[in-house]
Symmetry: C2
Subunit: 360 residues, 2 copies
DNA sequence: CAATTATGCTCTATCGGTTGAGCATCGCAA
DNA sequence: TTGCGATGCTCAACCGATAGAGCATAATTG
């Protein structure tokens, strides 16, 4: 393309191209959006239009295009944070999947702020999104209502709602597995059969509720009773976790951590213990983090299967708006610590070792 | 608002509201966009319009609005990945800052793929962005040309370019500091004055070039010569790092890691060493990761100052399009390992301990 | 009381692309 | 030579919001 002179006052439009090529704006439009075959434009004219567009660095004005069309092909997502691997992966995969479907993804981050969530949703509605994905929303039903009022379909991701189809991880089974792994490690490494401590989240949060249920059931299956004081749910923040851990039951040896964010606080707390005391502890955490997985007393992480979550999401999106209001549960992946192989030997593989499912 | 019946065929427009309230679309529009005072609409009518909008769940059609206006108030950003703390924080803070300025941010992730970068930039141009931020772009000048051809201003973030203002971290000074920290630790803990190993990145990458320069200068200032084989730049991927580390110079005790992504590979490799051998190593890394910071032999991380980077970015954005094509360097923050306090004592604070600059 | 100003609103064109309808021209068969 | 479909393109309306111009009516001034 010719390098813009930097002060090219106006952007190139189909009217400019029409004048340059010597044809009508309609012909230009149909060539550029691919409907020219149907509209019986000659190959010759199409070629001329395309090369003129190239030469002039033409970029479609989506605003005008969407304004006229019935579907925008824009799909929106609200997401709480970008600061952990789970949500980061969700955002990346969602963008990838949307593009593969010929859709344009717009993601916006709501900082776990309920007001910002609604504001962000309204913002995306302004973009005429065909569909809005509410990921980890504190009040998915409110979002769903707002969208319904505008005739826009919604899907809930990560946290379920009652007014739209939901795609979530099977937190219960994941928690059951993780609890068993930690209990096994405590018995094997430390000879302890004491109940674990559950830390992080809030009881009004669906995932926390399910994970707590799995945690308790795993104990029950072994006939281990869990005192109420062993379940600590002060939210997700690391500082909160550190604070409540100061009052942790003395005999506890194993910790079930509800999220990697909370895990930060747990690890900080553990590093403040005398080394011998810290060495006599084991923990496992929900959500996967590559560095978190490498920390000394970590005996397992439950990774949410992001590619499958997104695949389920895309499948539901194609059914919209007639999709049933149901909940799809996607199994989690249990990641066990990599067995450190003898030096120089090929790295020994076990289920879910740290290199699976990583960067594509 | 009245709960949508789910089949509300069309979205509410200003024409609907005008009919409901019994006034003109112009009046409705001016009330909703705030220009009603200037247009001498009465408070009474404004109130009626606002409550009708509320009741009908009205959401502005940005497409139509932007189409008519001269400025879109949309700012775009392309970013390579969401999978580490640095880019995650950049995305979050950028959204926050843009909203605070009354702008609408649209971020799109390019997977470090040069073609996708251009495609994504073109996509954002379609949205009539007023300004496009190219963050960590492999070819910022290409993006800048594309934008110039459309009369859109660009700013480079993280990696500099020659055709637009650039905001980057002061990699050289950060690398100098980090190298000194690692050298000190090797001497103090291991009694070693051997040159460090530099790992990660590519020499055609500006940040890598600057960090390598700081790395070499820190050695030179101590009169330590660095053999060429100590500088390993096989890209950023963890597997690449692991592969080249197999051929690491035998006498090396300290490693300068160019990014947290590369650090993943370094730590995996180190865990494959016999424990005694691993214990006799120290490393430090560019970019901060809360879990990475807590790993045993980590003696320091250099955190890029995201809030300051974004502040500088916003400052430049307000100068556009007349901003000079210059490079703004923002100092990095050196994060040293937290001194583990005696059990029960209040946590001892040193420069850049893990809780500074974290979640707001 | 006429002239002026202020108040409160409406009309109309417009942004750029899309879509259905329409209009020439050409080739070919009857 | 007329008729008819196929080919290749253009016209005009429209999507929803906005901005400038305009036009009543009410309030104020000389």
């Amino acid at each position: 393309m010719t390098a813009g002179d930097g002060i090219s006052s106006r952007r190139t439009t189909i009217y400019d191209l029409a004048r340059i090529v010597g044809t009508s704006p309609t012909a230009v439009s149909s060539v550029l959006n691919g409907s020219w075959k149907k509209r019986r434009i000659s190959q010759k004219l199409a070629d001329r239009v395309l090369s003129a567009a190239e030469e002039n660095g033409y970029a479609l004005n989506i605003q005008a295009s969407v304004l006229r069309r019935e579907k925008s092909n824009i799909v929106g997502m609200i997401i709480p944070k970008y600061d952990n691997r789970f949500f980061g992966a969700i955002a990346e995969r969602f963008e990838e999947a949307a593009r593969a479907e010929g859709l344009f993804p717009v993601i916006t981050c709501t900082q776990r702020d309920p007001d910002l969530e609604v504001e962000a949703a309204r913002g995306l509605l302004s973009y005429q999104v065909d569909c809005l994905v509410a990921c980890g929303a504190t009040n998915p039903d409110h979002i769903a209502e707002l969208c319904a009022a505008n005739g826009v379909a919604t899907i809930n991701l990560d946290l379920p709602g009652g007014r739209a189809p939901s795609i979530i991880s099977d937190s219960y089974s994941g928690a059951l597995d993780l609890t068993n792994v930690i209990l096994d490690a405590c018995e094997r490494d430390l000879g302890s059969r004491a109940p674990l401590v559950f830390i992080g989240g809030r009881l009004d949060d669906h995932n926390t509720k399910e994970r707590r249920r799995g945690f308790l059931d795993a104990h029950a299956a072994r006939g281990i009773e869990v005192p109420e004081g062993n379940v600590l749910m002060p939210g997700y923040a690391p500082e909160k976790a550190r604070a409540v851990l100061e009052r942790m039951p003395a005999q506890a040896r194993g910790i079930f951590v509800n999220s990697t964010i909370t895990l930060e606080g747990v690890v900080q707390w553990m590093q403040s213990l005398p080394p011998a005391e810290a060495a006599a502890m084991r923990y496992g955490s929900f959500d996967y983090d590559p560095f978190g997985a490498l920390l000394p007393q970590n005996v397992g992480m439950v990774e949410q299967d992001v590619p499958s979550l997104i695949a389920a999401l895309v499948a539901r999106m194609s059914d919209l708006p007639n999709a049933p209001i149901d909940v799809t549960k996607v199994p989690c992946i249990l990641r066990l610590p990599q067995i450190t192989p003898p030096h120089g030997a090929p790295s020994h593989s076990n289920r879910g070792m740290p290199n699976d499912h990583m960067r594509s």
